[in-house]
């Protein structure tokens, strides 16, 4: 009898739960004991009172015993509950595993969905974290700041003039040091080997501001900086690659034809700005007046102890005010912007990285909603199982736990696959975007990323499981047993429909974002640039200063190079300019003869005679340059149409005179000579498709030979440009082996400029595609389920003579409501959210009706196709077979 009761108890899990119950049990046991004692004593002939007193005495310390018993009882109870729970979890995991094996299709789909969405989320986080969230890899990085010039209307410029910097440097009381820097590429010779190198000119305590660590050696001394000594610091990479780690070579470095000494080697981890190979003391112009407006340098500083960014900002603004009152010429001296260096470095990337982080969260949500929805649909058979379990006494919490665990199991396995996939995805992203992503070299997958991946995994598992868990555990047996058969049109599926609606809404938001970027991109690539992209080779060359000190030698170099290049078979035109489109470009302040306008500006280029033809800029009026334009003859210039329209609207500019007051002047010297305009040429978007066509003027390099020491040769070929590069290289070596070049093609340079946009567009479209695919699968499974559930109804209708089109309509109607409501919600969300990406759009409103309409139609078509399959299946039902199956 007892063992039977025990089994019964165990089945029902009737164990005392609360403290009160435990106490009651303990008291009951002791009372029973005392009662038996009393009986014993009474049997010996004691009076009832006597027997009671003896029994209690014999028992001992009642209160203490009671307390102890309750305590051990509860401890034991808790232990066994914990063991039971773990046991149940173990059983649930095994059960979940078995269920997965039972329905391998669904399990594989869930694993793939989890793996993909977790991999996307984790890789996005990995990159965003490394670029935006982590501190810079320098000592005490929070104290590093970037300094900006401020214009009259308060707009910041990321560049500063050396003249202003010197004043900040001397007068500030809030910064431990301020340094200026400017990067570029030059030719460096180690022993006899000439090569191109990425350099940074630095002024001020650059290395101590950054607290750069050296592999060996030392930073520049103050004296070396002041005297422009012939010293360089090189990077660990350059030291290994170009110098073979040979200390003897540190005296054999030649730049501009002069011998330089290497004073130190910077550790690879401490290189700043990124990719710099050689640091040189900067030669900067000083003095008052115009020099204050030559903003060529970036500036960085380190805050002194106990000083905030705001303190430094106030301090430097006060200095700027003093500079302004003493020297009112400065148009960039209206203030100084101080901001954390990290913010300055990542400012451009921040918009799109945050956008991607938000987008990937959407993808994750769609994936979770999708799996949750599939589970609901799959759960018809399951509901009976749940109902039976509930009826047999399983707790609701046990059922919830079981369903949650099933999903967590899938999520964890999926997450592990996803993390492995992340390694690959991050690597691929860096390969594609490494050159345009700030701090790309700092991206690593570490415990922090893994922790977030684990959190994402658990969150995904719970999000997916919670909905079905609550829903399934809430069913009653009666409802299931009674309602499953018979009733026509049964099975409301509001929750499933809501989930699909959410998926559609999220997918539509992503599609809209992707669509807007796509449109911007198309607009950009279709924009006329004003110069040729096809089959144009560029070769950036620096002539070493010493051997080419004579201007005539420089000109001779370019002329003989140009002649040789033009003679190459396959070359249709060749020329050179100091700055060519899709790269850097100098802008000069200009003065127009007879006008008092201050601060007019135009791009200013030194070009060879063949340049305009080689780059593909057409002549619109007047003439271009020829051999008669030389040092002794009239100084002439050719301007572009934009400059003509801006400064001489409705008139011919030919014969007018201008001068390049900043780019041709010497500090504290006389103003430069006038240039007579002799021709008008077409406009170019010098800085790429997403920039405007700006005023520009060209002058023959023979008349401004100062700019002929560093030029880019442009070679227009009739065939594939890349195949001609070796031949061009050979010609270069023959003219002078000490002049290596950075080779590229205009197509490659354009691709590099567009790379981050392209990548962003691809990634966001990829996210949108995944979301749309999942949403389509969601619609498909929702309708398949609905059709399966209404088989009987549909069969009856078909038997009664309903037409196919009616049945089709019936199923479609159900889909239509869900899709339309979801799409409406998605459009509303997109209306609210696309504003955030305004900065990334070109000539497209964030509410662009074409995009909104386009993606909505696209979504509806995809949704319609997803709905068509189950709908067609419904119309093909054979009433007899369907009814017999019941």
């Amino acid at each position: 009898m007892m063992s039977e009761e025990r089994r019964y108890r165990r089945f029902l899990r009737l164990r005392p739960q609360s403290r009160e119950e435990v106490e009651r049990e303990v008291e009951e046991e002791i009372d029973a004991h005392l009662a038996m004692r009393v009986e014993e004593y009474e049997a010996r002939g004691e009076s009832r009172e006597q027997a009671r007193a003896d029994a209690v005495r014999r028992f001992g310390d009642y209160a203490h015993a009671r307390r102890e018993l309750v305590r051990t009882y509860r401890e034991q109870h808790m232990r066994s509950r914990r063991a039971e729970w773990l046991d149940a979890v173990r059983r649930d995991v095994i059960y979940g595993w078995r269920r997965a094996l039972h329905a391998p299709g669904y399990a594989l789909f869930a694993l793939a969905t989890f793996a993909l969405s977790i991999a996307l989320a984790t890789s996005t986080f990995t990159i965003v974290d490394a670029v935006l969230f982590r501190s810079l890899p320098f000592a005490d990085p929070e104290r590093l700041v970037a300094l900006q010039s401020v214009g009259e209307t308060g707009e910041p410029f990321s560049r500063v003039s050396a003249a202003n910097w010197l004043d900040w440097q001397q007068q500030n009381r809030t910064l431990a040091g301020i340094a200026i820097l400017q990067s570029g590429r030059i030719s460096v010779q180690v022993r006899a080997q000439a090569m191109r190198a990425q350099i940074t000119d630095v002024g001020g305590p650059f290395f101590s501001v950054l607290r750069t660590r050296f592999l060996w050696g030392r930073p520049f001394t103050e004296e070396e900086l002041r005297n422009n000594a012939r010293v360089v610091v090189v990077s660990e990479g350059f030291w290994r690659r170009a110098m073979g780690e040979d200390r003897a070579l540190s005296e054999r470095v030649t730049i501009n034809g002069y011998p330089f000494t290497v004073t130190g080697v910077v550790r690879a981890s401490d290189v700043y700005p990124r990719a710099t190979e050689v640091w040189l003391p900067a030669r900067y112009p000083m003095g008052n007046g115009a020099a204050r407006n030559w903003i060529n340098y970036a500036a960085i500083g380190r805050l002194a102890d106990d000083v905030t960014v705001a303190d430094a900002d106030r301090d430097l603004d006060a200095i700027a005010a003093r500079i302004r009152s003493a020297d009112p010429v400065g148009i960039y001296s209206y203030g100084v912007g101080v901001l954390p260096l990290k913010d300055d470095l990542t400012a451009d990337a921040s918009t799109y990285l945050r956008l991607l982080l938000g987008a990937v969260a959407f993808v994750l949500l769609v994936a979770c909603a999708n799996l949750a929805g599939m589970n609901l649909a799959r759960g018809v058979a399951r509901k009976r199982e749940m109902a039976v379990r509930l009826a047999l006494g399983a707790g609701r919490s046990a059922l919830i736990r079981q369903v949650l665990l099933e999903h967590l199991l899938l999520a964890v396995v999926g997450g592990l696959i996803g993390i492995a996939f992340t390694v690959f995805l991050v690597r691929a992203t860096l390969q594609a975007a490494g050159s345009v992503l700030p701090r790309a070299d700092e991206v690593t997958i570490d415990w922090r990323v893994l922790g977030v991946a684990a959190a994402i995994t658990i969150l995904a598992g719970l999000l997916t499981g919670l909905f079905p868990a609550l829903r399934l555990s809430g069913t009653s047996l009666r409802q299931q047993m009674g309602g499953a058969r018979g009733a026509v049109g049964g099975g409301r599926q509001t929750p499933g429909a809501v989930l699909v609606g959410i998926e559609i809404a999220l997918a539509l938001v992503l599609l809209t974002g992707g669509g807007l970027l796509l449109r911007s991109y198309r607009i950009l690539i279709e924009r006329p640039l004003g110069f040729d992209i096809r089959n144009v080779i560029t070769a950036q060359i620096d002539l070493p200063y010493a051997p080419y000190r004579e201007p005539a030698r420089r000109i001779l170099y370019w002329q003989s190079l140009e002649a040789r290049l033009k003679a190459l078979p396959g070359v249709s035109a060749a020329g050179s300019a100091n700055w060519v489109p899709l790269g850097n470009g100098g802008i000069s302040f200009i003065e127009i003869e007879g006008r008092a306008d201050q601060n007019l500006g135009a791009g200013y280029r030194a070009v060879s005679d063949g340049y305009l033809q080689a780059i593909g800029v057409p002549l619109l009026a007047g003439r271009t340059f020829n051999a008669t334009d030389d040092l002794g003859t009239q100084r002439v210039t050719v301007i572009n149409q934009r400059m003509a329209e801006q400064f001489w609207p409705g008139q011919s500019p030919i014969g007018r005179r201008v001068r390049a007051v900043s780019m041709e002047s010497v500090p504290d010297g006389p103003p430069p000579a006038w240039l007579t305009i002799v021709g008008v040429v077409g406009n170019v978007r010098h800085y790429g498709p997403d920039t405007d066509m700006r005023p520009e003027m060209y002058t023959s390099y023979r008349q401004i030979p100062f700019y002929a020491s560093s030029m880019t040769a442009v070679i227009k070929t009739s065939g594939d440009a890349n195949r001609l590069i070796p031949a061009v290289q050979a010609q270069l070596r023959e003219v002078d082996p000490a002049t290596p070049a950075d080779f590229s093609t205009q197509r490659e340079r354009l691709a590099a400029l567009m790379r981050w946009r392209r990548l962003l567009m691809n990634v966001l479209s990829g996210f949108a595609s995944v979301a749309l695919l999942l949403a389509a699968l969601g619609i498909y499974s929702l309708l398949s389920f609905a059709v399966a559930q209404r088989t009987r109804e549909i069969a009856v209708r078909a038997a009664l003579g309903a037409r196919r089109s009616n049945l089709l309509g019936m199923v479609f109607r159900q889909a239509l409501t869900v899709v339309l409501l979801g799409a409406a919600a998605g459009l509303l969300a997109a209306f609210a959210l696309t504003r955030l990406m305004t900065a990334l759009l070109v000539d497209v409103s964030p509410l662009d009706p074409v995009t909104f309409a386009g993606v909505t139609v696209f979504l509806l078509v995809v949704a319609g196709m997803a709905a068509a399959l189950p709908a067609l299946r419904a119309t093909r039902l054979d009433p007899l077979v369907a009814l017999r199956a019941e």
Binding site: R6, E28, E29, A32, H33, E40, A65, T72, Q76
Partner: protein
């Protein structure tokens, strides 16, 4: 009964296990059995007995179930588990070795020293 000996520490658990080796029993039954079979030489305080029972239960050496006595009274019955049985075997062997050693020393006569 007047010269009942206080129990040595640890022996109560052993005795309880031994008692239960004959079959399931409630606390009162165990106390009575112990008293009878020691001819009243061992005095077990009831409260200590119950603490021992719960201690053994929480260690998984015995388990308890509510049952009904011959007199139709609800009482908590304790039975030995497999773990309890093997523990009893081990502890008995240890106890016997221990008491033999102690006895051997206590029974030595002065001459043999």
């Amino acid at each position: 009964v007047d010269q009942a000996l206080p129990l040595l520490k640890g022996t109560l658990d052993l005795l309880v296990l031994k008692t239960l080796s004959w079959g399931a029993q409630h606390g009162y039954g165990i106390a009575t059995w112990l008293e009878q079979h020691s001819d009243g030489a061992l005095e077990v305080e009831d409260s200590a007995l119950y603490q021992a029972l719960h201690r053994l239960e929480s260690r998984g050496l015995i388990e308890a179930e509510w049952g009904v006595t011959e007199n139709n009274r609800r009482a908590r019955y304790y039975r030995m588990t497999a773990a309890g049985r093997s523990r009893l075997r081990k502890e008995t062997a240890t106890w016997l070795r221990y008491t033999q050693s102690v006895s051997a020393i206590l029974l030595m006569s002065a001459r043999t020293v």
